[in-house]
Symmetry: C2
């Protein structure tokens, strides 16, 4: 069976040609001549070396490339410059917001040549077909985009389902290189759900990505004992060290969700073996991408934080490749590897003067010279908010069956912009409904399934958003198939959700029964067609309008979509009800 | 399809139990308490740590194991001792001489818990069934024995054949973890034969072992460009460095074929990243095994040569595991790994006081406490010298078709005990035969196929054995299905070969028409049933009797069996004829 997806295996025809180029019997397509090459395998910088490339691959690395140069060979003179391997982002979430071609227009310039992304979001929305469609958009791009199959951890019992056959199909693909992050407490709470998926993945010679935030000692051991081989959650050097000691590859996050590199950087003085340290984003937002850049920014920052430049570069190249057992094809400059490299002025200055990916020059002097491929998605992938009708105000009512004048409810209490706890309070029942109490900063939050049981709604209450007016809503709620909305009144909540329905996905701010900001995400209800610059503007606008409503959080929409997430303590919401981190049991609002 | 062979994958049932043990819900089978653990992932020694084991696997590593200890838990107090991971021999040849249970009785004592062996010898003799039988003897042993599928490089066109289906079957097995060494010049001479095998292996997510002795620059690049990921041939630090720079894992050999560790050890001062350096034997003979030991000897020697002890231990544990992408299950002490460990007095003293393998104590105080399993081989595997009749003197004649009184022949000229070159000389033709010339030290060498075309014989001439009398013969001729014999006269040659026929395999010395020494190898014609001590005695005897014949080489039988090998320059012999290293073309004796 011909493998599906991005070719990662060196096939015999290519290998035969590489032999001929290395021996001088066939000329190279491209030669980078006379560079100071950073050799990630030994940790040396080897002066005056050259690389000969045929097709997508490296045929020869050495001090004498003349035999590979013919009349049609493109020669790049890298005298006095340093050549390093292309960067690999080992963990990100490309099934959200960015259309890949728009993302790459910005992200490819700085030297990132491989991206490894989660796909769980799409698997929940559209199963294998959805993931397959996304991966089709990833193939035949100037850089490599590889993926993990979703572990499908969710607080929703429906969303966490995945037929065994779906996972098997995904694991057979070339471009699926592991099982994505599974939250530790979900695994320990429901091993019968996850361990079969783990075994299936391990039997496919693929790895298990991990998420162990908050675990230590026995629980961390228990989680890693299931075969988990990485974690991207540590936020300080001590947590990093604890995990590497237990055999994990640790991804140090410097992205839009977390910026922990500086704090973690003290680990550089611990004298430990650095082979299992990796730099990754765990996701990057448009403004950060535009203002800072992609992996080049992170590697530069690592150097500026005091990491040895060679170690910093290994952390974004060889170490990542080794973690995924892909070091035979990426992560270093050597024969038989993909020709993924960048020319920089010196080893401390991560400023790509020229970027080569899959053997082609894709960027020069900070300009893209190769366009990403715009993928045509079939129309059905733009119809994933499957309501049969618009919502009306009655859909947001909280009926109280009790005859008494008040009820005790469990509300979501925002302790930080992300962490929540369960709080039990008594609220009055008026006309058979439990009402929010804006004076106590208690407002409604609703999770509405848009795919499995479209329209299935659960209404909860949340404290901490400080809203006196309006509503904010998103169709990209974490780890579920829900639209998530919080609002000070039912009118704005219904308006926001119905707007998302009309757009077939997006982020919306409403106030006074008007849409004040929006960002359409019609592709899968997760991804926008807009260029990155427009995304940045729209997000700035969304944030501004959300702040006007009184929301105190630095990233209001992040706080919103995290409400359905399964990995952050303690009380979360989905279309089935409220779920507590500690026991995974689904409960009602009214106690 | 249930995978065949040694289970390397952490299955869901086991993972579920490991969770429970780590959490203290189920008690461990074994706890090693209060050791100073060498953590190969960070390169630290962590004091007062404990390891809890369930079944074959590690469930917990940390400073507080009490929750894992129950009334039935075996507790080893390792206070003041150092605990290190079990050693892995990354490259050896177990399809020769030793029956695995006899080998393990000696080899297991010192802390080697995983052996990775070539199987090519057996594939040539008996195809898939032979390899499968050998691997069956390897399963359910106290230590793990894993294998590579033979690349089948041979100077014989018949011996190098391997049906695609055979390789596919082998690659599907759990206990086949890569394609074995392919000699670089064979690959570059005949890419059409090898590159399909390489692609098949890479598509199975398995690796390509390499053999690049004598290659450098363009040729080395060409070879590595085919996807090769290791080499065990470098004999000095410069060669090691050259290969690591090109992306290879390099195995530093300290075994019976080569002892290069001391010379190579200067690399420890080069300041290079050591993650791709590996210690291996490439085969060990009985006397060395008895007098020195197995991997423990090599690691101790590395430390004595000045390597940092932690680096030396990584070179025999984690680095090997990472090379084979098996570091998720072996090569370190962490949850979710096999419980393969040894207790040593201190990190510089590789003296196993206690060895744990697959979670069981297999050795204590230098004594085995667990017996290897003696495997019952079906009888047909003891019938692999398939002659239909004994050889007679006429089988050793060299007819000269020419009418002239002399012919020009190409002889094998031994430059060293292993390296040969082609030498063209004129010899007289007497009674229609070309005769050897003992005065010039030119004697006969014969390669006789014992399996594919049993009895097919090619007679050549060799200079350098200095024999005036007798013959020596072996059925374990390298890289072929031949019996190889050299002798000063046809009578002793016939006697030696016929004795091997009667024994159904072995090594024999003859003189004056009598057998003066022999070592039967009836299993596949490659392996003896004798205990290691008896093997050592018999080999000593073989060497002594061979030396009496005048053979000047330090290891006469090594020089003998290398005559058919495809990897050492320059002129070699097989049942089809003489083959020159430089072009791979088969030629006759008479020019």
């Amino acid at each position: 069976m011909k493998p599906i997806g991005t070719q990662l295996v060196l096939d015999q025809q290519t290998a035969a040609k590489l032999i001929r180029v290395a021996l001088g019997e066939k000329k190279a397509d491209l030669v980078i001549r006379n560079a100071n090459i950073l050799n990630v395998y030994t940790g040396e910088i080897l002066e005056n070396e050259s690389v000969a490339v045929m097709g997508k691959w490296i045929a020869y690395v050495g001090d004498d490339p003349e035999h590979t140069i013919g009349s049609k060979t493109t020669v790049i003179d890298a005298t006095g410059k340093v050549l390093i391997p292309g960067f690999i982002d080992g963990h990100t979430h490309m099934a959200w917001l960015f259309r890949i071609d728009e993302f790459l227009k910005i992200a490819m310039k700085g030297g990132t040549t491989t991206i490894i992304t989660e796909t769980m979001e799409l698997a929940m929305i559209m199963g294998y077909d959805g993931v397959s469609a996304l991966l089709s958009s990833f193939s035949d791009q100037p850089v490599k985009i590889l993926s993990t199959a979703g572990a499908m951890a969710s607080i929703s019992s429906e969303a966490r389902k995945m037929p065994k056959e779906t996972l098997q199909k995904l694991l057979k693909r070339n471009d699926i290189i592991g099982l994505g992050e599974s939250f530790w407490q979900a695994v320990l709470q429901d091993p019968a759900l996850f361990l079969p998926r783990f075994e299936e993945t391990l039997r496919s010679h693929k790895i298990l990505e991990g998420h162990s935030a908050g675990a230590s000692g026995k629980k961390l051991n228990a989680y890693i004992a299931t075969g988990i081989s990485s974690c991207h959650e540590p936020i300080n050097a001590k947590e990093v060290l604890e995990r590497v000691r237990l055999g994990l590859y640790v991804m140090i996050r410097e992205g839009s969700i977390r910026r922990d590199l500086e704090v973690i950087s003290e680990i550089k003085d611990f004298g430990i073996d650095s082979r299992r340290l990796i730099l990754a984003t765990d996701g990057i937002e448009p403004r950060d991408l535009l203002e800072k850049g992609y992996m080049e920014y992170i590697v530069q920052k690592a150097i500026d934080c005091g990491f040895d430049p060679i170690v910093a570069i290994q952390m974004a190249t060889l170490n990542v490749a080794e973690h995924f057992s892909l070091d035979n094809v990426i992560g270093g400059i050597a024969p038989g590897r993909f020709a993924d490299m960048l020319v920089i002025p010196d080893v401390k200055t991560i400023d790509a003067e020229c970027v080569v990916s899959n053997g082609r020059i894709i960027a020069k002097s900070h300009q893209l010279v190769m366009e990403p491929r715009q993928h045509n998605f079939p129309d059905n992938f733009r119809q994933t908010v499957l309501f049969s009708k618009k919502l009306d105000l009655s859909d947001f009512a909280i009926p109280a069956e009790s005859k008494s004048s008040q009820v005790e409810v469990r509300i979501i209490d925002m302790i930080t912009d992300l962490v929540t706890k369960e709080k039990k309070i008594k609220l009055p029942v008026i006309n058979g409904e439990v009402l929010p109490d804006l004076g106590q900063d208690i407002i409604k939050v609703a999770a509405i399934d848009r795919t499995h049981f479209p329209g299935k709604t659960f209404i909860g209450l949340v404290k901490g958003f400080c809203m006196k007016n309006g509503a904010i809503a998103s169709s990209a709620a974490w780890d579920t198939t829900d639209i998530i909305v919080v609002g000070a009144n039912d009118v704005d909540m219904a308006l926001a959700v119905n707007r998302i329905y009309a757009l077939q996905g997006g982020m919306v701010v409403c106030a006074d029964n008007e849409i004040t900001a929006e960002l359409p995400m019609p592709l899968f209800g997760l991804i926008s067609d807009l260029p990155v610059q427009d995304l940045a503007k729209r997000q700035k606008n969304l944030d501004a309008e959300a702040s006007k409503l009184g929301i105190p959080f630095p990233n209001p929409f992040l706080s919103l979509v995290a409400l359905t997430g399964s990995a952050i303590p303690f009380l979360r919401i989905c279309e089935e009800g409220l779920v507590h981190f500690k026991d995974g049991i689904t409960r009602n609002l009214i106690i």
